[in-house]
């Protein structure tokens, strides 16, 4: 009976999670079809080799430093996004929990508003804001006559990523802060703890589950993101997400795309594991 109750969830997990992953793993071992898709019956290790190695003009295998650089850049962007959103989300969440309950509800609602619009639309909104002669340039015109020229720079990527992922960091941190027993805060104050000690010794340790969750929720999708960096970075700096998207799209190399996606997954899991264990 118990098993039966769990069946729908199990079925969903298998259909939506396990099966696609297995399929992706399987595709990564197949021979590529130059016209798109794969040759279903023919297996090949080529995709996995191509993740890191290339053939040079003599037909020798050489390390593909480009893909290493892209992997590194992706990790950096994801890490930076995580750090920046955390630095913004923590004080915001602390401020929010200090508000009266009605205002807290309103603020919480405001935080979720961006989710009502598609990522792509929101990225384009940033393009309109940041482009030469856009709203940002108009606003700073009295000070910087030539405009800031922010669009298609790393700053634009950072802005867009921070904007896109901030709610994912803010919500779990806010929820874990709100769940802290107010008597513990009183106890800390009663035991002579100033603001700093209260934060470092009581609030942050108790909000740890939310902080870890927020970091995971930001880091993992940020590592695989490609829409925001592409639109705001102008496609000048490739990320893993772009690379994978390219393999399935224009480059028509599904096995390589699948292999890279698995590498991305493992990379994310490794970082998460290291983060949770500490």
């Amino acid at each position: 009976m118990r098993a039966l109750l769990a069946a729908p969830a199990l079925l969903a997990a298998v259909l939506l999670l396990v099966l696609p992953l297995v399929l992706m793993g399987y595709v990564s071992t197949l021979e590529r079809n130059p016209n798109g898709g794969v040759v279903w019956a023919v297996h090949s290790a080529q995709a996995w080799i191509s993740v890191l190695w290339d053939l040079d003009f003599d037909g020798k295998r050489i390390l593909n430093t480009d893909s290493l650089r892209i992997f590194g850049r992706s990790l950096l962007v994801a890490a930076l996004t995580t750090v920046i959103t955390f630095v913004i989300a923590l004080p915001t969440a602390l401020w929010m929990v200090g508000q009266p309950p009605r205002r807290r509800m309103a603020l919480l609602f405001l935080v979720t508003v961006p989710f009502w619009t598609n990522v792509l639309v929101r990225a384009y909104a940033w393009v309109l804001l940041l482009r030469a002669g856009g709203l940002v340039d108009q606003a700073v015109a009295p000070l910087v006559p030539g405009g800031l020229g922010l669009l298609y720079t790393p700053t634009a990527i950072a802005l867009g990523m921070t904007y896109a992922f901030l709610p994912l960091m803010l919500l779990p941190i806010y929820l874990s802060l709100e769940a802290i027993d107010p008597r513990l805060i009183e106890a800390a104050a009663d035991l002579y703890a100033g603001r700093r000690r209260m934060l470092l010794r009581v609030v942050l340790p108790l909000a740890r589950p939310g902080i870890v969750a927020g970091m995971a929720l930001v880091f993992v999708p940020a590592l695989g993101s490609f829409v925001t960096p592409e639109l705001l970075g102008g496609g000048k700096a490739l990320l893993i997400g772009n690379l994978i998207q390219g393999q399935f799209g224009a480059l028509r190399n599904w096995p390589l795309g699948a292999a890279m996606a698995i590498v991305l997954l493992l990379l994310a899991l490794a970082v998460l594991r290291a983060g949770v264990r500490r």
Partner: protein, 360 residues
């Protein structure tokens, strides 16, 4: 009403007129409701002071005002003569034992106990020494590295005590600290609190709704109702000379019989007149009779009488319920006394001086 004259006399005996804690005319209103309605009270050095009253009487609000978690609308609080109310909780040299302990779940026993000492930036060696001392004081040796979740309720209570005592507060505030414990443990912790208080000489201000606890532990009791202190005195004073029917009924068992003054006597509803100690100025009063300060007699010629409806034997004595024209009165018989039969007509004879006329 606050008994300022007695508090003043006690101070003069101790240290020349300055109580440890001096609360004056505190008022705190929550949404139009007066949680504190002009409370004034003094607590002496080394006193075990109980704030006694039913829930909602303002006793916890008073304690939290002293701790710094409640800002009163008006009034002052002096600690050793210095104003306290403008200081935030973290700068008040008092510590609290919270009702549900509020131990830090992510810290060990030793880390919990060390918390206040580290906040005060004491040298590491002194922190360690004081933690060891506090842990020994509450008899938790060997538990230092455990987390609160791995402790029983009684042990958590001891950690809360050690944590609040380690910084050596000028006064320890206890907010119904024993209410979460079962009866046996509660009894044990009461003795423990008494022992600790005697050993340390620290003033304990103890909030409770349990009159037995207050009578047994405290040197001085403030009985509160609806934001006011109804009576302030030693356990004996509060029990034996309650100022009104509310105090008499809340502190201990009491038979309460309305009466009117007739010359030197008091007339009850049956028309009978009784002699009573007078603790009331007006003509209307309530006569207080403690069940253990009366005995049973032949019903003839007794102004208080009725028929036995129930007898409760509990080993230490028997409580007899007597239903008569003045309602049901209770009489406590000592062990070994003959137990009356249900339905038997009995008279109730108050001990000499046991009846007391007080404000309704």
């Amino acid at each position: 009403m606050p008994d300022r004259s007695l508090a003043g006399a006690a101070c003069a005996r101790h240290d020349g007129g300055m109580p440890l804690l001096d609360v004056q005319a505190l008022v705190k209103t929550y949404a139009g409701l007066r949680a504190l309605d002009g409370v004034s009270v003094g607590v002496e050095q080394g006193q075990f002071f109980a704030l006694l009253g039913p829930s909602g009487c303002g006793k916890t609000t008073l304690l939290r005002t002293i701790a710094g978690f409640v800002q009163p609308d008006s009034g002052t609080v002096l600690l050793e003569g210095a104003p306290l109310l403008h200081l935030p909780p973290e700068r008040r040299p008092v510590n609290t034992v919270f009702q549900s302990y509020a131990l830090f779940p992510h810290l060990t026993v030793a880390e919990n106990v060390a918390f206040g000492l580290e906040s005060l930036r004491l040298p590491r060696a002194e922190v360690a020494a004081r933690v060891a001392e506090a842990v020994r004081l509450v008899r938790l040796e060997g538990m230092e590295t455990r987390r609160p979740a791995a402790l029983s309720g009684g042990q958590q209570q001891r950690v809360a005590l050690a944590r609040a005592l380690a910084p050596r507060p000028k006064a320890l505030l206890l907010d119904e600290p024993l209410s979460a414990l079962d009866l046996v443990l509660r009894r044990e912790m009461q003795l423990e609190l008494k022992r600790l208080q005697r050993e340390l000489g620290t003033a304990f201000i103890f909030v409770t709704h349990d009159q037995t606890e207050a009578l047994g532990l405290a040197d001085r009791i403030a009985v509160m109702r609806a934001g006011r202190i109804e009576q302030l005195g030693s356990p004996e004073e509060v029990y034996e000379r309650p100022v009104n029917a509310y105090v008499a009924g809340f502190v201990g068992e009491a038979n309460l019989v309305p009466a009117t003054r007739v010359g030197a006597l008091w007339r009850v509803a049956t028309g009978a007149c009784l002699a009573a100690e007078v603790g009331v100025p007006g003509p209307e009063a309530v006569l207080v009779l403690r069940p253990e300060r009366a005995s049973l007699a032949d019903p003839r010629d007794q102004p208080l009488h009725g028929a036995v409806t129930l007898t409760e034997y509990d080993g230490a004595g028997t409580t007899v319920h007597v239903a008569g024209p003045l309602g049901t009165l209770r009489v406590r018989l000592p062990p070994g006394a003959a137990r009356p039969v249900v339905g038997e007509a009995v008279g109730i004879v108050p001990d000499p001086g046991a009846l007391r006329a007080v404000n309704a």
